[in-house]
């Protein structure tokens, strides 16, 4: 399984309604200890949004202060972003991921610093 299997996959809820595509994958360092690195990163959840423009620019990170108009623009663009926790994932097919619940059950992802 590769990270690229998740990125840009369409995400569908319990009613087969698309809530967007995977824009990023949030990792948490809670896996088994590997080598000198320590605890491995495992998947905490998928960051899903219908809008992909600028997702990789990082303006939504908490420690990015500006330029203010761009930060405001990208935060507005990604206002629909939601974190689909790994425990909610029901099935993974090629280019399509289904989860338990609906868009309303999901939380917005916490902005990370970077």
């Amino acid at each position: 399984m590769r990270l690229s299997d998740f990125l840009q996959a369409e995400v569908l809820d319990d009613n087969d309604v698309s809530i967007g595509r995977v824009q990023d994958v949030r990792l948490i360092q809670d896996g088994p200890v590997i080598g000198t690195w320590g605890a491995a990163f495992s998947i905490e959840g998928l960051i899903v949004s219908k809008r992909g423009v600028g997702a990789r620019l990082g303006f939504h990170r908490s420690n990015v202060k500006g330029p203010l108009p761009l930060k405001a623009l990208f935060e507005w663009i990604f206002r629909d972003a939601r974190l689909v926790e790994w425990e909610r994932i029901r099935s993974i097919e090629e280019g399509r991921i289904r989860f338990r619940g609906t868009y309303e059950d999901l939380k917005a992802p916490d902005p990370l610093s970077g």
């Binding site: 990270l3 990125l7 896996g31 590997i34 000198t36 990163f41 998947i43 997702a55 990370l112």
Partner: protein, 135 residues
């Protein structure tokens, strides 16, 4: 870097970052990550960094990806070409680049570079000339 405590967004904080070996030498880019499922169930975890055109091809998808994958398979010396896999366990730190605790030698991250050197650069007259005058 894109961490808050022990969290990171893989696309933003890892993908396309430069990889530096223990001597600070360029060892490619993070082109993809390979994840392993846990025997006891639960979320899969990152086991390898994949680097090089063989990994990038899959991310590009479409015609560009198919072309890159085909070129990689032709140029790779192995009968079963696969992207370079760097165990995540040898990562020392993640900053603006991904720093390794080992040397790039033996990581198989320079397949295309080696092929170009052996098939083109080495055939250019003077390719082995050392400006320092030792050869």
């Amino acid at each position: 870097m894109t961490r808050a405590g022990n969290r990171i967004d893989a696309g933003l904080g890892l993908l396309d970052r430069q990889i530096l070996d223990k001597d600070g030498k360029d060892s490619g880019n993070v082109d993809d990550l390979e994840l392993f499922a846990r025997e006891e169930g639960g979320a899969p975890y990152v086991m390898y960094i994949l680097a090089g055109p063989g990994a990038l091809a899959r991310r590009l998808r479409g015609r560009a990806g198919a072309w890159l994958e085909s070129a990689f398979e032709r140029l790779h010396h192995s009968e079963d070409p696969h992207p370079a896999r760097i165990p995540f366990g040898v990562v020392k730190d993640i900053k603006h680049s991904v720093e390794l605790s080992i040397s790039k030698r033996g990581l198989d991250v320079t397949t295309i570079e080696d092929w170009v050197r052996d098939h083109f650069i080495s055939k250019i007259p003077g390719a082995y000339h050392d400006p320092g005058g030792t050869k």
